[in-house]
């Protein structure tokens, strides 16, 4: 049956903000789905609160609601748009949970809306652990022995039955949130206690331990005719015990015989049928006992998942696109294979290469967090690489990580003849952390045997042997008499970079590259074609290999190479991919061939449909140069765009230009002008602009002198960082000593920047375009939080709320002066701070910023596209009336322009200390948010309330608010607290805060902080634990150790009580509370706002 004729409109639910466990892979899948549905002639209605997504571009859906993904809001959209159906399987767990909530609330029935792709019963059979277990057993397969528990007592009894250790898994959470391994009763009380809270059904499952077993995933698809195919098998290199999102994984599975693989496939097919996934994709996880081959089904996701995005990129089979087609009536055999065009989609991709995925972590941003990898996912991004063998794929993936020391190295190997060293190496191998793979490699290189290492970590001996092979090749490289063709060929066939070879031979990297090129040892590029070469591929989706024959086709049109942003990390995420994708679209429309280079499988940019050609390659100088070389051989190349993918490609611009590659748009010289402290200071001086006093120190003594000179508090940070990495506000000499000792290294090569910190300043963020003649200001954003909170973690509003025309004028002319002074060509982001009516320039970034998508959506102007066009020669003047508005710019928005608020989403709940407490949720100059949402409405309070709701902070409409504010903010707290009381809230306050409020005539209930209390007193922690507090306002002092409020904040975070830690946000939230109390939200699509 082709397209269903009874559907004319479909509501697609997106996945909301980027959080750990749910990242931009759902933008990739959702965007594909929306495009497919529209191509089929359906009206597509979309809800997604995340503005940094391609799917929320107004031309992707017919009606785009950037609104919180909340059942009430969705009901309003349904009421307004009256869709025939809802597609909930492409927006992750968020969309699936929203669909269940709509069903439970009777909304689907009320409006006669059908769920397509999955029904509620199927979702529940797949996600309810007990139902799922029953199904697995009915299919004749096994699941781990387990007990369902609803209380701690049930859990304790269950664990006795199963024997410790036991795995604790809450139902209906994603990314393994709240799950963990309990080795004893204390562990169990802690993990199960939290898990019962995280699960929307207050249910956890205890399971027999299958720790150390081999772990696999299958990605399956089913159509309405009951055809089922397996798209991909994924094998986890890390055995069971590490969440699959945190594991190094490989596709296809490499250590199974056909018998075991087919048994897994049979189980998968039986399970998808029994669960009743009507149409679409699902993912099933298995554990295999390495000693006996016993297969146990771990779990399934009855929807498109993170793994399906990985599987799509790994195989070339676009699961989300196909799932959308299946949902509206097609069967697999009716859909052509996207890549071969002539064969159907009803087949199983076969690979002639190896794919490796490595997760990327940011534990450095949460120093208190326990870095042990468990069944709760903690990684914030991932890289994927393709190679013709495992060694190549692994080494390419490692250098794609873009982290210092991410690649294998062989210097200073441990001396394992020392028994203590040997023990400690084995200990680090047995402990699952992000670094374990290095411990394994170094341990093997130092002489541990495959068997010893296997015993310590249970990574399959085959993978260990491959790592031994890499070590042997390293030895071969370093001991060879000369760097000849054979040495290089062997090295390259196992994925060694020129840099690694150089280091092994104590040579300069450039010399290695020179020798290699002279010997004509260069990579060829193979194609991902779903069929191992059996049929011709029509999609140039390439990866490098040091093989014989290249498949890069010649071309005639001039090409532009766009460098992506690499793995998602805090500080560089989906926003940069958004800009790269937009650049690709604009440059393609301008008549060029577009070539994308990136290594992040979660993104839209690595969809082979995005650019004309896709190179799935690490973003290192060597790898990018080889792509460039291959493309120059294929046809004319106009140049490379480095300014849209964040710091990753920006950092390559200089070397690329030096190597003779034309860099388009902003030139490396301009980048230096903006990034080099001294040069940038000169730019500001010439323009008569002020910056906070600052200095650059290369020794500790120097840092101290500078700090004394410019006066405390100072902001200290390593130079050239993104996302405020390692940045801290330091109030006195003691803190400076401490920072230097613990938080950073300092040397000539790694200078530390010391800036005067502006207290109580309003921070302003500007995104602008410059073409050498004209300036176009995209938007002037006013931060809600004061300067000192990283701009990525601060809420902000556009148009600005409180800045006067005079300030705006100064911002405009300062922006123009900096653009001119640095001579950027394209996007420029500047951060200002205004205090005591003085405008300070904090920093300038000569590239697309994190806020570009937000500004673009808020003002309906495509900044990244315009920047890309400037890079290929167009001017602001000639884009006016086309890409840019006829007149005016984003700094001159009319009073009736909608107010857009960006709110950050923070991951504190994921990270626990070794003792099991959540880490502190205080904001600071180091960015820690994983994503953002946008709230848009006619006025600020409503937009801000939507922003909070989108970030899952549901403001209470009545109840009790706890307030504890540091002394310096006590004066400013009075008014908002009074408003709370006027609205009927009860206020609970700590002693000092209560005293101040009392003098203002505001009645409060006084509570003790936990350390002030006598044994019989109830403390604030008791109140929080009892669930009697509906919101926590805890504004700590900047100066003091912030530990006093930590327990309170940790408890609020752990109990999911809305927590506000700055006074500015408190004041803003109070204005929003009134809105939330008085009315329900009205929804409006971007298309309507723009009309």
């Amino acid at each position: 049956m082709p397209l269903r004729q009874d559907l004319s409109s479909v509501l697609v639910i997106g996945s909301g903000p980027i959080v750990i466990g749910q990242a931009c892979e759902f933008d990739y899948s959702g965007t594909q789905a929306c495009r497919v549905l529209r191509d089929e002639g359906l009206r597509v209605i979309l809800i997604n609160s995340n503005p940094a997504t391609i799917m929320t571009d107004p031309d992707v859906a017919d009606a785009t609601y950037v609104e919180p993904i909340d059942p009430d809001i969705i009901e309003s959209i349904i009421d307004k748009e009256r869709p025939d159906a809802i597609l909930p399987t492409l927006g992750g767990q968020t969309a699936l949970n929203a669909a269940i909530a709509l069903h439970d609330a009777g909304i689907l029935e009320k409006y006669g809306v059908e769920l397509i792709g999955a029904d509620v019963d199927a979702i529940q059979r797949g996600e309810d652990r007990q139902k799922f277990k029953t199904i697995v057993e009915e299919c004749g397969a096994e699941s781990a022995k387990s007990v369902i528990c609803h209380t701690i007592d049930e859990a304790l009894a269950g664990a006795e039955e199963l024997n410790y250790p036991v795995v604790v898994r809450p139902s209906f959470t994603m990314g393994g949130l709240g799950s963990g391994m309990a080795y004893d009763e204390n562990d169990l009380r802690r993990i199960a206690g939290a898990g019962l809270g995280d699960s929307i059904t207050h249910e956890v499952l205890l399971e027999e331990s299958i720790l150390g077993w081999k772990e696999y995933e299958l990605e399956l698809m089913r159509d309405h005719k009951d055809n089922v195919v397996v798209i991909c098998s994924i094998e986890n290199v890390d055995p069971v015990g590490v969440h699959t999102g945190d594991s190094i994984t490989v596709a296809p599975s490499l250590t199974l015989t056909d018998r075991e693989y087919q048994k897994m496939r049979d189980i998968g097919i039986d399970v998808i049928r029994a669960v009743g996934v009507a149409t679409g994709g699902c993912n099933i996880q298995y554990a295999v006992d390495p000693a006996t081959g016993r297969i146990v089904v771990i779990e399934m996701n009855p929807r498109v998942s993170r793994s399906s995005a990985l599987a799509s990129k790994a195989t070339g089979f676009p699961i989300a696109k196909m799932a959308a087609k299946l949902a509206v009536g097609y069967s697999l055999d009716e859909i052509p294979n996207d890549i071969t065009k002539v064969t159907p989609a009803s087949f199983e991709p076969t690979l002639d290469y190896v794919v490796v995925k490595i997760p990327r972590f940011t534990f450095e941003k949460f120093p208190a967090a326990d870095p042990t990898l468990t069944t709760t996912m903690k990684s914030v991004g991932e890289v994927m690489s393709l190679g013709r063998n495992f060694t190549t794929a692994l080494q390419k993936a490692m250098r794609s990580m873009e982290q210092r020391d991410a690649s294998f190295s062989w210097s200073d190997l441990p001396d394992i003849s020392d028994e203590d060293v040997r023990e400690s190496v084995l200990e680090s191998i047995s402990h699952a952390t992000a670094d374990r793979i290095h411990s394994v490699q170094r341990g093997l290189a130092a002489g541990l045997s495959n068997a010893e290492v296997f015993e310590a970590c249970e990574i399959d001996p085959w993978f260990l042997d491959q790592i031994e092979l890499i070590n042997e090749v390293a030895e071969f490289i370093s001991s060879a008499e000369e760097l000849d063709a054979q040495v290089l060929q062997v090295a390259k066939n196992h994925g060694f970079s020129d840099e690694q070879i150089a280091s092994l031979r104590s040579m300069d990297t450039g010399v290695v590259t020179g020798v290699r090129h002279a010997l004509r040892i260069r990579p060829v590029f193979k194609t991902v074609d779903t069929c191992a070469g059996e049929f011709a591929a029509h999609t140039p989706y390439h990866y490098s290999s040091y093989d014989e024959e290249t498949e890069v086709a010649p071309r005639e049109k001039p090409a532009v190479i766009i460098l992506g942003s690499g793995p998602n990390r805090i500080g560089q995420g989906i926003e940069f991919d958004y800009s790269c994708v937009h650049a690709t679209m604009a440059i393609s429309e301008a008549g060029f061939e577009t070539i994308m280079v990136n290594c992040n499988p979660e993104t839209v940019s690595t969809d082979y449909d995005t650019a004309d050609r896709l190179y799935f390659e690490p973003l290192t100088f060597e790898d990018v140069m080889e792509v460039y070389h291959a493309e120059v051989a294929a046809g004319p190349v106009l140049g490379v765009v480095c300014t849209l993918g964040g710091q990753t490609p920006l950092g390559l611009a200089d070397k690329l230009k030096a190597a003779g590659v034309p860099v388009l748009g902003t030139q490396p010289e301009a980048i230096d002008l903006a990034e080099d402290r001294g040069e940038f200071g000169a730019v500001l001086d010439r323009a008569g602009l002020t910056a906070p006093k600052h200095g650059t120190a290369v020794t500790y003594a120097e840092a101290e002198t500078i700090a004394e000179e410019i006066g405390y508090p100072v902001l200290v940070r390593p130079s050239y960082v993104l996302g405020g990495r390692g940045m801290q506000i330091v109030y006195d000499r003691t803190q400076l000593v401490d920072y230097m000792a613990t938080a950073t290294e300092i040397s000539i090569d790694r200078p530390v920047l010391v800036d005067r910190f502006l207290e109580d300043a309003i921070e302003i963020d500007v995104d602008a375009l410059y073409d050498g003649t004209d300036i176009f200001i995209g938007g002037i954003m006013e931060h809600i939080e004061e300067a000192g909170i990283h701009s990525g973690d601060s809420a902000c509003v556009l148009p600005s709320l409180t800045l006067g025309e005079d300030v705006l004028d100064r911002v405009r002319s300062a922006t123009a002066a900096i653009a001119e002074g640095t001579n950027v060509r394209g996007l420029l982001n500047i951060q200002f701070a205004i205090t005591a009516d003085v405008l300070h320039v904090i920093e300038a970034n000569p590239r697309a910023s994190r806020t570009v998508p937000f500004v673009s959506k808020a003002t309906s102007t495509q900044l990244a596209k315009a920047a890309a066009l400037i890079a290929v020669g167009r001017t602001i003047a000639d884009m006016r009336g086309d890409m840019l508005p006829e007149t005016g710019d984003g700094s001159r928005l009319s009073l009736d322009h909608p107010i857009a608020v960006k709110e950050a989403v923070l991951p504190f709940r994921r990270f626990r200390t070794v003792e099991g407490k959540v880490v502190d949720s205080i904001l600071g100059p180091e960015m820690r948010s994983t994503g953002e949402v946008m709230g848009i409405d006619h006025d600020f309070p409503t937009a801000f309330a939507k922003g909070l709701l989108g970030a899952s902070i549901k403001l209470p409409t009545s109840g009790t608010v706890f307030v504890s504010v540091a002394d310096r903010d006590k004066r400013a707290m009075v008014l908002p607290v009074k408003e709370l009381v006027d609205m009927g809230f009860d206020v609970v306050a700590t002693t000092g805060t209560a005293a101040v409020l009392s003098r203002y005539g505001i009645k409060t209930t006084q509570v003790h902080k936990h350390f002030e209390a006598d044994a019989e007193d109830r403390t604030i922690l008791d109140y929080l634990a009892a669930g009697t507090i509906d919101m926590v306002i805890n504004v700590p002092s900047g100066r003091q150790e912030r530990a006093d409020g930590y327990e309170i904040r940790a408890s609020a975070t752990a109990h999911s009580v809305p927590l506000i830690t700055t006074l500015a946000e408190f004041a803003a939230a109070v204005t929003s509370l009134e809105v939330v109390r008085d009315k329900t939200f009205k929804v409006r699509s971007l298309q309507d706002w723009n009309a």
Binding site: T255, V342, E348, D465
Partner: protein, 383 residues
């Protein structure tokens, strides 16, 4: 590191050569070059008699990872004429593993080559079509390329090759039914894989495995409920004796089921021709539509020849009017090649792919049940 010290060279009949390292036995071998796209099941592939006289190229990136097991052989020996892989595993890792593949290849005298650009080779065969190939390693590789090419060009072609007799058993064997015996079947071994009798016997069938040279009287003497023709190597156009035998089986209205070569022979017995495919179907991911149910099954395939029958509607069997009407029951969705035949007026059907799998998915195992249904129906009709 252990670098292979024995160079090897692979020479195609059109003169293209690839250099790599010796894998398995050192020496020289000639055969038809075929690529297999399966990612698992190399042991089953190597021991599949249908690969007799063929040099198998594995497109999968790593081969040998799980070693050799006791259970996974599809016959008593390795049949491939030679073996081409990209990365050969250095160790075996599997709880069932009893040895490693390279040793087995060496002991079996199978000349192979590793470290070659198997993808380039595969694309070449896809574009240029099936052809002969040689692998030369050790002293054999030292001859100049011209000389090696001459050897390849002098080797016999697959078209016109009569090979079933070479791989068949010479004495009948009985594989008894597992559990209660329901039927007995005469299975003509034209290169049968061991999973096939297993699939039959586990359904309560006594399987009389018979040599390829068996005649109709010998089958009649067994008093079987059905006849089965297996897969096997070679050009179906050469199997006249078996085609004649099958015509007698059809004439006697004995229920018949054929797999692969057996499908081609049913095609010929009914009067259709067979032809050589450009490069064949060899993989375990091939979509086939069962036209009787309109459902797609993912099949295991290994065939270089195919039946030339009209795809749509019913056709009168061209060979003999008494055979009645025939329909193409299964079609390959990749290229519309005939993948199954069904007689509408006789109890006979066959498929071109491998429902016994090994290696491959089990989607098509229902066909063995269909055979049982056919035998049941036939008994009812006779009763």
């Amino acid at each position: 590191m252990r670098l292979s010290t024995t160079p090897a060279v692979l020479v195609l009949e059109d003169g293209r050569t690839f250099r790599g390292s010796s894998y398995g036995a050192v020496g020289e071998t000639l055969g038809e070059a075929v690529f297999v796209t399966a990612m698992s099941g190399y042991q089953e592939t190597l021991t599949d008699p249908s690969y007799h006289r063929q040099i198998v190229i594995q497109t999968a990136p790593h081969i040998g990872n799980t070693g050799i097991t006791d259970d996974d052989d599809e016959s008593g020996k390795i049949w491939v004429a030679g073996y081409v892989v990209r990365d050969a595993s250095r160790i075996s890792s599997n709880w069932r593993s009893i040895g490693d593949l390279s040793t087995r290849l060496e002991e079996s005298g199978i000349v192979g080559i590793s470290d070659v650009d198997t993808r380039a080779l595969t694309l070449h065969l896809r574009e240029a079509g099936a052809m002969r190939m040689g692998i030369f390693s050790g002293p054999a590789a030292e001859a100049d390329d011209k000389e090696l090419l001459a050897k390849v060009q002098a080797s016999p072609r697959m078209a016109g090759a009569k090979l079933a007799e070479q791989v068949s058993i010479t004495q009948p064997q009985l594989i008894p039914a597992v559990g209660e015996k329901k039927f007995s079947v005469a299975a003509l071994d034209l290169g049968i894989k061991s999973m096939t009798p297993q699939r039959l016997s586990e359904r309560g069938i006594d399987v009389h495995l018979l040599p390829a040279t068996t005649n109709f009287a010998e089958i009649q003497a067994l008093g079987v409920d059905g006849v089965f023709f297996s897969n096997g190597p070679g050009d179906p156009a050469t199997a006249d004796a078996q085609v004649d035998l099958l015509r007698e089986v059809l004439g006697a209205k004995i229920p018949f089921f054929g797999i692969c070569f057996g499908n081609q022979l049913l095609g010929r017995a009914l009067g259709f021709g067979t032809y050589k495919l450009p490069f064949g179907h060899r993989g375990i991911n091939v979509p086939v539509m069962d036209r009787t149910t309109d459902k797609v099954e993912i099949t295991s395939q290994n065939h270089g020849f195919a039946v030339d029958a009209p795809l749509d509607g019913e056709t009168q069997a061209p060979h003999d009017e008494s055979f009645g009407r025939v329909a193409v029951s299964h079609v390959c969705l990749n290229d519309d090649v005939v993948e199954g035949l069904q007689c509408l007026d006789l109890p006979a059907f066959s498929v071109q792919f491998h429902p016994e799998a090994a290696a491959g998915p089990h989607d098509s195992s229902y066909l063995f049940d269909r055979f049982i249904d056919l035998m049941s129906a036939s008994q009812v009709a006779q009763a």
